[in-house]
Symmetry: C2
Subunit: 277 residues, 2 copies
Protein backbone atom coordinates (compact mmCIF):
# COMPACT_ATOMS: atom_id res chain seq x y z
CA UNK A 1 0.00 0.00 0.00
CA UNK A 2 1.14 3.53 -0.74
CA UNK A 3 1.98 5.73 2.23
CA UNK A 4 -0.69 8.32 3.06
CA UNK A 5 -0.72 12.08 3.44
CA UNK A 6 -1.64 13.25 6.93
CA UNK A 7 -3.76 16.37 7.26
CA UNK A 8 -4.48 17.98 10.63
CA UNK A 9 -6.78 20.89 11.40
CA UNK A 10 -8.46 22.50 14.36
CA UNK A 11 -11.83 21.41 12.95
CA UNK A 12 -13.58 21.12 9.59
CA UNK A 13 -11.76 23.93 7.73
CA UNK A 14 -8.99 21.60 6.63
CA UNK A 15 -11.55 19.69 4.58
CA UNK A 16 -11.24 22.48 1.99
CA UNK A 17 -7.56 21.52 1.69
CA UNK A 18 -8.48 17.84 1.42
CA UNK A 19 -10.96 18.69 -1.30
CA UNK A 20 -8.20 20.39 -3.29
CA UNK A 21 -5.74 17.54 -2.68
CA UNK A 22 -8.31 15.10 -4.04
CA UNK A 23 -8.88 17.28 -7.09
CA UNK A 24 -5.24 18.07 -7.86
CA UNK A 25 -3.63 14.86 -6.57
CA UNK A 26 -6.28 12.17 -7.04
CA UNK A 27 -3.75 9.35 -6.52
CA UNK A 28 -3.02 10.30 -2.92
CA UNK A 29 -4.53 8.57 0.09
CA UNK A 30 -5.49 10.85 2.98
CA UNK A 31 -5.70 10.50 6.75
CA UNK A 32 -7.49 13.56 8.17
CA UNK A 33 -7.66 14.56 11.81
CA UNK A 34 -9.85 17.47 12.90
CA UNK A 35 -9.88 18.60 16.53
CA UNK A 36 -13.53 19.62 16.28
CA UNK A 37 -14.03 19.18 20.03
CA UNK A 38 -11.59 21.97 20.90
CA UNK A 39 -12.17 24.18 17.83
CA UNK A 40 -11.72 27.12 17.34
CA UNK A 41 -7.99 27.43 18.00
CA UNK A 42 -7.89 30.96 16.61
CA UNK A 43 -8.95 32.72 19.81
CA UNK A 44 -6.65 30.66 22.09
CA UNK A 45 -3.26 31.46 23.62
CA UNK A 46 -0.04 30.38 21.91
CA UNK A 47 0.73 27.72 24.55
CA UNK A 48 -2.64 26.05 24.08
CA UNK A 49 -2.45 26.17 20.28
CA UNK A 50 0.91 24.41 20.49
CA UNK A 51 -0.24 21.81 23.00
CA UNK A 52 -3.38 20.92 21.05
CA UNK A 53 -1.54 20.79 17.72
CA UNK A 54 1.21 18.56 19.10
CA UNK A 55 -1.34 16.15 20.54
CA UNK A 56 -2.88 15.87 17.04
CA UNK A 57 0.57 15.33 15.53
CA UNK A 58 1.31 12.54 17.98
CA UNK A 59 -1.93 10.78 17.05
CA UNK A 60 -1.63 11.17 13.28
CA UNK A 61 2.02 10.10 13.24
CA UNK A 62 0.91 6.63 14.35
CA UNK A 63 -0.17 6.16 10.70
CA UNK A 64 2.34 5.45 7.92
CA UNK A 65 2.65 8.97 6.44
CA UNK A 66 4.88 10.39 3.70
CA UNK A 67 3.93 14.03 4.30
CA UNK A 68 2.15 16.06 6.97
CA UNK A 69 -0.06 19.04 6.12
CA UNK A 70 -0.90 21.58 8.83
CA UNK A 71 -4.19 22.57 7.22
CA UNK A 72 -4.92 25.29 9.76
CA UNK A 73 -3.46 28.78 9.52
CA UNK A 74 -3.42 29.30 13.28
CA UNK A 75 -1.54 26.05 13.92
CA UNK A 76 0.80 26.79 11.01
CA UNK A 77 1.63 30.21 12.43
CA UNK A 78 2.68 28.78 15.79
CA UNK A 79 4.02 25.28 15.13
CA UNK A 80 5.25 24.82 11.54
CA UNK A 81 8.84 25.80 12.16
CA UNK A 82 9.18 23.43 15.12
CA UNK A 83 7.35 20.56 13.44
CA UNK A 84 9.61 20.82 10.39
CA UNK A 85 12.57 20.24 12.69
CA UNK A 86 10.90 17.56 14.79
CA UNK A 87 9.59 15.25 12.06
CA UNK A 88 11.55 13.37 9.44
CA UNK A 89 8.88 13.63 6.72
CA UNK A 90 8.17 16.84 4.77
CA UNK A 91 5.81 19.14 6.66
CA UNK A 92 3.87 21.86 4.86
CA UNK A 93 1.71 24.65 6.24
CA UNK A 94 -0.90 26.82 4.56
CA UNK A 95 0.69 30.26 5.02
CA UNK A 96 3.57 30.19 2.54
CA UNK A 97 1.41 28.81 -0.33
CA UNK A 98 -1.17 31.58 0.11
CA UNK A 99 1.58 34.18 0.35
CA UNK A 100 3.29 33.04 -2.83
CA UNK A 101 0.02 32.96 -4.76
CA UNK A 102 -0.77 36.50 -3.59
CA UNK A 103 2.65 37.70 -4.76
CA UNK A 104 2.13 36.08 -8.14
CA UNK A 105 -1.22 37.82 -8.82
CA UNK A 106 -0.98 41.25 -7.18
CA UNK A 107 -0.41 44.18 -9.52
CA UNK A 108 -0.52 47.03 -7.01
CA UNK A 109 1.53 45.14 -4.36
CA UNK A 110 -1.24 45.88 -1.85
CA UNK A 111 -2.29 42.64 -0.19
CA UNK A 112 -4.95 42.03 2.45
CA UNK A 113 -4.98 39.11 4.89
CA UNK A 114 -8.00 37.92 6.85
CA UNK A 115 -7.72 35.25 9.51
CA UNK A 116 -8.39 34.30 13.10
CA UNK A 117 -7.26 36.56 15.93
CA UNK A 118 -4.26 34.33 16.66
CA UNK A 119 -3.16 34.13 13.00
CA UNK A 120 -3.44 37.90 12.57
CA UNK A 121 -1.68 38.55 15.86
CA UNK A 122 1.21 36.27 14.87
CA UNK A 123 1.92 38.42 11.78
CA UNK A 124 2.95 35.15 10.11
CA UNK A 125 1.59 36.20 6.70
CA UNK A 126 3.29 39.55 6.85
CA UNK A 127 6.66 37.95 7.65
CA UNK A 128 6.18 35.30 4.99
CA UNK A 129 5.22 37.86 2.31
CA UNK A 130 7.99 40.30 3.17
CA UNK A 131 10.63 37.59 3.35
CA UNK A 132 10.00 37.01 -0.35
CA UNK A 133 9.39 40.64 -1.32
CA UNK A 134 9.99 43.48 1.12
CA UNK A 135 8.30 45.92 -1.24
CA UNK A 136 4.69 45.01 -0.37
CA UNK A 137 1.95 46.77 1.60
CA UNK A 138 0.09 44.36 3.86
CA UNK A 139 -3.28 45.02 5.55
CA UNK A 140 -4.39 42.58 8.25
CA UNK A 141 -7.87 41.98 9.61
CA UNK A 142 -9.04 39.46 12.22
CA UNK A 143 -12.50 38.00 11.59
CA UNK A 144 -13.25 36.03 14.79
CA UNK A 145 -16.92 35.52 13.96
CA UNK A 146 -16.33 33.52 10.76
CA UNK A 147 -15.01 30.21 12.15
CA UNK A 148 -17.75 29.53 14.73
CA UNK A 149 -20.35 30.29 12.05
CA UNK A 150 -18.75 27.79 9.67
CA UNK A 151 -17.86 25.13 12.24
CA UNK A 152 -21.48 24.99 13.44
CA UNK A 153 -22.76 24.66 9.90
CA UNK A 154 -24.78 27.88 10.34
CA UNK A 155 -23.39 29.33 7.11
CA UNK A 156 -25.45 26.71 5.28
CA UNK A 157 -28.68 27.95 6.83
CA UNK A 158 -28.46 31.72 7.12
CA UNK A 159 -27.89 34.66 4.80
CA UNK A 160 -24.32 35.60 5.66
CA UNK A 161 -23.81 38.38 3.13
CA UNK A 162 -24.64 41.36 5.36
CA UNK A 163 -22.52 40.05 8.21
CA UNK A 164 -19.52 39.43 5.95
CA UNK A 165 -19.91 42.89 4.42
CA UNK A 166 -19.76 44.53 7.81
CA UNK A 167 -16.77 42.50 9.00
CA UNK A 168 -14.75 43.20 5.83
CA UNK A 169 -15.62 46.90 5.61
CA UNK A 170 -12.16 48.04 6.88
CA UNK A 171 -10.63 46.47 3.75
CA UNK A 172 -13.13 47.57 1.14
CA UNK A 173 -12.08 51.19 0.98
CA UNK A 174 -11.07 52.52 -2.38
CA UNK A 175 -8.16 50.51 -3.88
CA UNK A 176 -6.75 49.68 -0.47
CA UNK A 177 -5.88 46.17 -1.68
CA UNK A 178 -6.03 44.33 -5.01
CA UNK A 179 -5.56 40.85 -3.53
CA UNK A 180 -7.10 39.22 -0.46
CA UNK A 181 -5.70 36.05 1.09
CA UNK A 182 -8.25 33.85 2.87
CA UNK A 183 -5.85 33.18 5.74
CA UNK A 184 -8.00 30.50 7.34
CA UNK A 185 -8.93 27.18 5.78
CA UNK A 186 -12.54 27.61 6.88
CA UNK A 187 -13.02 30.69 4.71
CA UNK A 188 -13.13 28.99 1.28
CA UNK A 189 -16.54 27.69 2.38
CA UNK A 190 -17.82 31.28 2.25
CA UNK A 191 -15.56 32.37 -0.63
CA UNK A 192 -18.54 32.98 -2.89
CA UNK A 193 -20.04 35.44 -0.43
CA UNK A 194 -16.68 37.11 0.23
CA UNK A 195 -16.22 37.54 -3.52
CA UNK A 196 -19.65 39.09 -3.82
CA UNK A 197 -18.83 41.62 -1.10
CA UNK A 198 -15.41 42.53 -2.54
CA UNK A 199 -16.36 42.77 -6.20
CA UNK A 200 -14.49 41.64 -9.29
CA UNK A 201 -11.45 43.90 -8.96
CA UNK A 202 -10.00 42.10 -5.96
CA UNK A 203 -8.29 38.72 -6.43
CA UNK A 204 -9.22 36.19 -3.78
CA UNK A 205 -6.56 33.65 -2.84
CA UNK A 206 -7.59 30.41 -1.16
CA UNK A 207 -4.65 29.00 0.72
CA UNK A 208 -6.35 25.59 0.42
CA UNK A 209 -5.98 25.34 -3.35
CA UNK A 210 -2.49 26.77 -3.26
CA UNK A 211 -1.38 24.33 -0.58
CA UNK A 212 -2.42 21.32 -2.69
CA UNK A 213 -0.46 22.85 -5.57
CA UNK A 214 2.71 23.22 -3.48
CA UNK A 215 2.32 19.71 -2.04
CA UNK A 216 2.47 18.46 -5.61
CA UNK A 217 5.76 20.35 -6.18
CA UNK A 218 7.35 18.94 -3.04
CA UNK A 219 6.14 15.35 -3.50
CA UNK A 220 7.35 15.52 -7.09
CA UNK A 221 10.81 16.85 -6.17
CA UNK A 222 11.20 13.99 -3.71
CA UNK A 223 9.77 11.34 -6.05
CA UNK A 224 6.94 10.67 -3.60
CA UNK A 225 3.94 11.09 -5.93
CA UNK A 226 1.66 8.04 -5.85
CA UNK A 227 1.38 6.25 -9.17
CA UNK A 228 -2.08 4.69 -8.92
CA UNK A 229 -5.56 5.95 -8.21
CA UNK A 230 -6.22 5.44 -4.50
CA UNK A 231 -9.15 3.66 -3.00
CA UNK A 232 -9.47 4.75 0.61
CA UNK A 233 -9.46 7.76 2.93
CA UNK A 234 -9.80 8.04 6.68
CA UNK A 235 -11.44 10.97 8.50
CA UNK A 236 -10.94 11.28 12.24
CA UNK A 237 -12.45 13.92 14.50
CA UNK A 238 -12.50 14.57 18.23
CA UNK A 239 -15.95 16.11 18.46
CA UNK A 240 -19.48 15.31 17.43
CA UNK A 241 -19.86 13.37 14.19
CA UNK A 242 -23.01 15.18 13.07
CA UNK A 243 -21.67 18.72 12.59
CA UNK A 244 -18.63 17.25 10.92
CA UNK A 245 -20.76 15.29 8.51
CA UNK A 246 -22.86 18.33 7.70
CA UNK A 247 -19.86 20.26 6.43
CA UNK A 248 -18.25 17.13 5.01
CA UNK A 249 -21.30 16.42 2.88
CA UNK A 250 -21.54 20.04 1.79
CA UNK A 251 -17.95 19.93 0.53
CA UNK A 252 -17.74 16.46 -0.95
CA UNK A 253 -21.35 15.99 -1.96
CA UNK A 254 -21.62 12.37 -3.02
CA UNK A 255 -18.40 12.35 -4.96
CA UNK A 256 -16.42 10.35 -2.44
CA UNK A 257 -18.80 7.46 -2.07
CA UNK A 258 -18.57 6.90 -5.82
CA UNK A 259 -14.97 5.87 -6.05
CA UNK A 260 -13.35 5.71 -2.67
CA UNK A 261 -13.62 3.66 0.45
CA UNK A 262 -14.13 6.26 3.17
CA UNK A 263 -14.22 5.84 6.92
CA UNK A 264 -15.35 8.58 9.34
CA UNK A 265 -14.54 8.00 12.99
CA UNK A 266 -14.68 9.91 16.27
CA UNK A 267 -11.60 9.50 18.46
CA UNK A 268 -10.14 10.85 21.69
CA UNK A 269 -6.73 12.50 21.79
CA UNK A 270 -4.38 11.55 24.59
CA UNK A 271 -3.19 14.27 26.92
CA UNK A 272 0.43 15.19 26.31
CA UNK A 273 2.83 14.35 29.09
CA UNK A 274 4.14 17.43 30.84
CA UNK A 275 7.60 17.07 29.30
CA UNK A 276 6.16 17.13 25.78
CA UNK A 277 4.25 20.38 26.21
CA UNK B 1 27.64 37.98 -2.55
CA UNK B 2 24.55 35.76 -2.80
CA UNK B 3 24.70 32.86 -5.25
CA UNK B 4 22.78 33.43 -8.48
CA UNK B 5 20.03 31.58 -10.33
CA UNK B 6 21.10 30.34 -13.76
CA UNK B 7 18.53 30.47 -16.55
CA UNK B 8 19.18 28.89 -19.96
CA UNK B 9 17.03 29.07 -23.06
CA UNK B 10 17.30 28.45 -26.78
CA UNK B 11 16.84 32.18 -27.36
CA UNK B 12 14.81 35.08 -25.99
CA UNK B 13 11.74 33.13 -24.79
CA UNK B 14 13.31 32.46 -21.42
CA UNK B 15 13.21 36.20 -20.74
CA UNK B 16 9.51 35.75 -19.94
CA UNK B 17 10.58 33.41 -17.14
CA UNK B 18 13.21 35.92 -15.98
CA UNK B 19 10.56 38.61 -15.95
CA UNK B 20 8.41 36.49 -13.64
CA UNK B 21 11.37 35.60 -11.40
CA UNK B 22 12.13 39.30 -11.00
CA UNK B 23 8.50 40.01 -10.17
CA UNK B 24 7.92 37.12 -7.78
CA UNK B 25 11.45 36.77 -6.36
CA UNK B 26 12.92 40.27 -6.52
CA UNK B 27 15.78 39.35 -4.18
CA UNK B 28 17.30 36.85 -6.60
CA UNK B 29 20.28 37.58 -8.84
CA UNK B 30 20.07 36.10 -12.35
CA UNK B 31 22.58 34.86 -14.91
CA UNK B 32 20.78 34.29 -18.23
CA UNK B 33 22.15 32.48 -21.24
CA UNK B 34 20.19 32.43 -24.52
CA UNK B 35 21.47 30.45 -27.49
CA UNK B 36 20.01 32.97 -29.93
CA UNK B 37 22.52 32.02 -32.63
CA UNK B 38 21.17 28.46 -32.92
CA UNK B 39 17.51 29.19 -32.09
CA UNK B 40 14.98 27.69 -32.69
CA UNK B 41 15.65 24.33 -31.03
CA UNK B 42 12.05 23.22 -31.49
CA UNK B 43 12.46 21.95 -35.05
CA UNK B 44 15.75 20.12 -34.38
CA UNK B 45 16.52 16.46 -33.73
CA UNK B 46 16.79 15.10 -30.18
CA UNK B 47 20.58 14.61 -30.42
CA UNK B 48 21.15 18.24 -31.42
CA UNK B 49 18.79 19.59 -28.75
CA UNK B 50 20.76 17.65 -26.14
CA UNK B 51 24.17 18.71 -27.49
CA UNK B 52 23.25 22.40 -27.66
CA UNK B 53 21.63 22.37 -24.23
CA UNK B 54 24.58 20.64 -22.58
CA UNK B 55 26.99 23.17 -24.10
CA UNK B 56 24.91 25.94 -22.49
CA UNK B 57 24.90 24.09 -19.18
CA UNK B 58 28.68 23.76 -19.26
CA UNK B 59 29.06 27.51 -19.83
CA UNK B 60 26.52 28.66 -17.22
CA UNK B 61 27.85 26.29 -14.56
CA UNK B 62 31.10 28.29 -14.55
CA UNK B 63 29.11 30.86 -12.50
CA UNK B 64 28.35 30.35 -8.80
CA UNK B 65 24.75 29.10 -9.05
CA UNK B 66 22.31 27.83 -6.44
CA UNK B 67 19.67 26.67 -8.94
CA UNK B 68 19.42 26.04 -12.67
CA UNK B 69 16.26 26.79 -14.66
CA UNK B 70 15.76 25.17 -18.07
CA UNK B 71 13.55 27.99 -19.35
CA UNK B 72 12.81 26.27 -22.64
CA UNK B 73 10.13 23.63 -23.06
CA UNK B 74 11.98 21.81 -25.85
CA UNK B 75 15.19 21.56 -23.81
CA UNK B 76 13.19 20.57 -20.71
CA UNK B 77 11.46 17.76 -22.61
CA UNK B 78 14.76 16.20 -23.68
CA UNK B 79 17.30 17.01 -20.97
CA UNK B 80 15.67 17.73 -17.59
CA UNK B 81 15.79 14.19 -16.27
CA UNK B 82 19.49 13.78 -17.11
CA UNK B 83 20.47 17.23 -15.86
CA UNK B 84 18.76 16.59 -12.52
CA UNK B 85 21.01 13.57 -12.08
CA UNK B 86 24.15 15.24 -13.40
CA UNK B 87 24.15 18.45 -11.37
CA UNK B 88 24.33 18.85 -7.63
CA UNK B 89 22.12 21.95 -7.47
CA UNK B 90 18.33 21.85 -7.89
CA UNK B 91 17.32 21.89 -11.57
CA UNK B 92 13.83 22.94 -12.61
CA UNK B 93 12.16 22.82 -16.01
CA UNK B 94 9.06 24.55 -17.33
CA UNK B 95 6.84 21.57 -18.12
CA UNK B 96 5.79 20.36 -14.67
CA UNK B 97 4.87 23.88 -13.44
CA UNK B 98 2.61 24.47 -16.43
CA UNK B 99 1.07 21.01 -16.03
CA UNK B 100 0.31 21.51 -12.35
CA UNK B 101 -1.25 24.92 -12.95
CA UNK B 102 -3.45 23.46 -15.69
CA UNK B 103 -4.61 20.70 -13.34
CA UNK B 104 -5.43 23.24 -10.67
CA UNK B 105 -7.69 25.37 -12.93
CA UNK B 106 -9.38 22.95 -15.32
CA UNK B 107 -13.00 22.11 -14.59
CA UNK B 108 -13.75 19.88 -17.57
CA UNK B 109 -10.39 18.01 -17.37
CA UNK B 110 -9.84 18.83 -21.05
CA UNK B 111 -6.45 20.46 -21.47
CA UNK B 112 -4.75 21.74 -24.62
CA UNK B 113 -1.00 22.08 -25.09
CA UNK B 114 0.69 24.19 -27.73
CA UNK B 115 4.44 24.09 -28.29
CA UNK B 116 7.24 23.56 -30.77
CA UNK B 117 7.32 20.47 -32.98
CA UNK B 118 9.92 18.81 -30.75
CA UNK B 119 8.04 19.54 -27.50
CA UNK B 120 4.78 18.23 -28.93
CA UNK B 121 6.49 15.18 -30.44
CA UNK B 122 8.08 14.35 -27.05
CA UNK B 123 4.63 14.08 -25.41
CA UNK B 124 6.35 15.45 -22.29
CA UNK B 125 3.30 17.47 -21.18
CA UNK B 126 0.97 14.54 -21.68
CA UNK B 127 3.19 12.27 -19.54
CA UNK B 128 3.61 14.96 -16.91
CA UNK B 129 -0.14 15.66 -16.70
CA UNK B 130 -1.16 12.01 -16.64
CA UNK B 131 1.46 11.10 -14.07
CA UNK B 132 -0.40 13.40 -11.68
CA UNK B 133 -3.92 12.62 -12.89
CA UNK B 134 -4.62 9.83 -15.37
CA UNK B 135 -8.19 11.04 -15.77
CA UNK B 136 -7.46 13.95 -18.16
CA UNK B 137 -8.03 14.50 -21.88
CA UNK B 138 -5.04 16.12 -23.53
CA UNK B 139 -5.02 17.79 -26.97
CA UNK B 140 -1.63 18.66 -28.47
CA UNK B 141 -0.81 21.11 -31.24
CA UNK B 142 2.57 22.09 -32.68
CA UNK B 143 2.85 25.76 -33.69
CA UNK B 144 6.21 25.92 -35.52
CA UNK B 145 5.62 29.39 -36.94
CA UNK B 146 5.35 31.16 -33.57
CA UNK B 147 8.97 31.04 -32.36
CA UNK B 148 10.68 32.45 -35.49
CA UNK B 149 8.11 35.28 -35.52
CA UNK B 150 8.86 36.13 -31.88
CA UNK B 151 12.63 35.57 -32.01
CA UNK B 152 12.96 37.99 -34.95
CA UNK B 153 10.92 40.63 -33.13
CA UNK B 154 8.38 40.57 -36.00
CA UNK B 155 5.49 40.15 -33.55
CA UNK B 156 6.17 43.72 -32.45
CA UNK B 157 5.67 45.09 -35.94
CA UNK B 158 2.90 43.08 -37.56
CA UNK B 159 -0.73 42.24 -36.87
CA UNK B 160 -0.45 38.65 -35.74
CA UNK B 161 -4.09 38.01 -34.86
CA UNK B 162 -5.21 36.40 -38.13
CA UNK B 163 -2.19 34.14 -38.26
CA UNK B 164 -2.64 32.97 -34.66
CA UNK B 165 -6.33 32.35 -35.28
CA UNK B 166 -5.56 30.08 -38.20
CA UNK B 167 -2.84 28.15 -36.37
CA UNK B 168 -5.02 27.55 -33.29
CA UNK B 169 -8.19 26.64 -35.20
CA UNK B 170 -7.85 22.87 -34.47
CA UNK B 171 -8.27 23.68 -30.75
CA UNK B 172 -11.04 26.23 -30.92
CA UNK B 173 -13.84 23.81 -31.70
CA UNK B 174 -16.77 23.76 -29.34
CA UNK B 175 -15.68 23.04 -25.73
CA UNK B 176 -12.78 20.88 -26.89
CA UNK B 177 -10.62 22.29 -24.08
CA UNK B 178 -11.20 24.63 -21.12
CA UNK B 179 -7.49 25.23 -20.40
CA UNK B 180 -4.58 25.93 -22.74
CA UNK B 181 -0.96 25.62 -21.65
CA UNK B 182 1.48 27.88 -23.48
CA UNK B 183 4.06 25.10 -23.72
CA UNK B 184 6.83 27.35 -25.01
CA UNK B 185 8.38 30.24 -23.12
CA UNK B 186 8.20 32.43 -26.21
CA UNK B 187 4.42 32.33 -26.29
CA UNK B 188 3.67 34.59 -23.30
CA UNK B 189 4.90 37.42 -25.54
CA UNK B 190 1.81 36.87 -27.71
CA UNK B 191 -0.46 35.76 -24.84
CA UNK B 192 -2.72 38.79 -25.33
CA UNK B 193 -3.38 37.83 -28.94
CA UNK B 194 -3.84 34.15 -28.08
CA UNK B 195 -6.37 35.14 -25.41
CA UNK B 196 -8.25 37.27 -27.90
CA UNK B 197 -8.49 34.35 -30.32
CA UNK B 198 -9.60 31.82 -27.68
CA UNK B 199 -12.13 33.98 -25.84
CA UNK B 200 -12.82 34.29 -22.14
CA UNK B 201 -13.98 30.74 -21.49
CA UNK B 202 -10.55 29.16 -21.91
CA UNK B 203 -7.94 29.55 -19.16
CA UNK B 204 -4.48 30.34 -20.47
CA UNK B 205 -1.55 29.01 -18.47
CA UNK B 206 1.87 30.58 -18.90
CA UNK B 207 4.53 28.12 -17.87
CA UNK B 208 6.79 31.14 -17.24
CA UNK B 209 4.79 32.53 -14.34
CA UNK B 210 4.20 29.07 -12.91
CA UNK B 211 7.88 28.21 -13.06
CA UNK B 212 8.84 31.26 -11.00
CA UNK B 213 6.19 30.23 -8.49
CA UNK B 214 7.59 26.69 -8.17
CA UNK B 215 11.15 28.01 -7.93
CA UNK B 216 10.02 29.92 -4.88
CA UNK B 217 8.65 26.71 -3.31
CA UNK B 218 11.87 24.78 -3.91
CA UNK B 219 14.25 27.57 -2.83
CA UNK B 220 12.13 28.02 0.28
CA UNK B 221 12.11 24.30 1.17
CA UNK B 222 15.90 24.27 0.92
CA UNK B 223 16.39 27.56 2.77
CA UNK B 224 17.99 29.09 -0.31
CA UNK B 225 15.85 32.24 -0.69
CA UNK B 226 17.98 35.39 -0.85
CA UNK B 227 17.40 37.78 1.99
CA UNK B 228 18.27 41.14 0.41
CA UNK B 229 17.22 43.03 -2.70
CA UNK B 230 19.75 42.21 -5.42
CA UNK B 231 21.66 44.71 -7.44
CA UNK B 232 22.91 42.97 -10.58
CA UNK B 233 21.92 40.64 -13.40
CA UNK B 234 23.91 39.25 -16.29
CA UNK B 235 22.46 38.46 -19.73
CA UNK B 236 24.53 36.37 -22.13
CA UNK B 237 23.59 35.42 -25.69
CA UNK B 238 25.31 33.62 -28.54
CA UNK B 239 23.75 35.57 -31.42
CA UNK B 240 23.28 39.15 -32.48
CA UNK B 241 22.79 41.66 -29.67
CA UNK B 242 20.25 43.81 -31.56
CA UNK B 243 17.38 41.34 -31.89
CA UNK B 244 17.95 40.29 -28.30
CA UNK B 245 17.77 43.87 -27.13
CA UNK B 246 14.57 44.48 -29.07
CA UNK B 247 12.72 41.74 -27.21
CA UNK B 248 14.55 42.48 -23.97
CA UNK B 249 13.42 46.08 -24.04
CA UNK B 250 9.88 45.08 -24.92
CA UNK B 251 9.72 42.81 -21.88
CA UNK B 252 11.58 44.82 -19.29
CA UNK B 253 10.87 48.31 -20.58
CA UNK B 254 13.05 50.62 -18.51
CA UNK B 255 12.35 48.89 -15.23
CA UNK B 256 15.70 47.19 -14.94
CA UNK B 257 17.86 50.25 -15.44
CA UNK B 258 16.10 51.87 -12.50
CA UNK B 259 17.25 49.56 -9.77
CA UNK B 260 19.65 46.98 -11.04
CA UNK B 261 23.11 46.83 -12.50
CA UNK B 262 22.61 44.92 -15.75
CA UNK B 263 25.19 43.64 -18.19
CA UNK B 264 24.31 42.28 -21.66
CA UNK B 265 27.08 40.40 -23.43
CA UNK B 266 27.51 38.30 -26.56
CA UNK B 267 29.58 35.13 -26.06
CA UNK B 268 30.65 32.03 -27.95
CA UNK B 269 29.88 28.55 -26.65
CA UNK B 270 32.67 25.99 -26.76
CA UNK B 271 32.07 22.85 -28.78
CA UNK B 272 31.49 19.84 -26.59
CA UNK B 273 34.17 17.16 -26.69
CA UNK B 274 32.98 14.01 -28.39
CA UNK B 275 32.81 12.09 -25.11
CA UNK B 276 30.44 14.65 -23.61
CA UNK B 277 27.85 14.45 -26.40
Amino acid sequence: MERAIGVIDSGVGGLTVVNEIMRQLPNEQIVYLGDTKRCPYGSREESEIKEFTYSMVREIMTYDLKMLVIACNTATAYTLKDLKQMLDIPVIGVIKPGSRAAISVTQTKKIGIIGTEATIKSRAYEYSLKEINSDLEVQRLACPSFVPMIESGDYLKMNTLEMIKEVLSPLTNNKMIDTLVLGCTHYPLIAGEIGEVLGEDIHIISSSGETAREMSVILDQRNLLSKDLISSHLFLMTGNKDNFKLVYENIFDNRLSNFADVEIKQIELKELEESYK
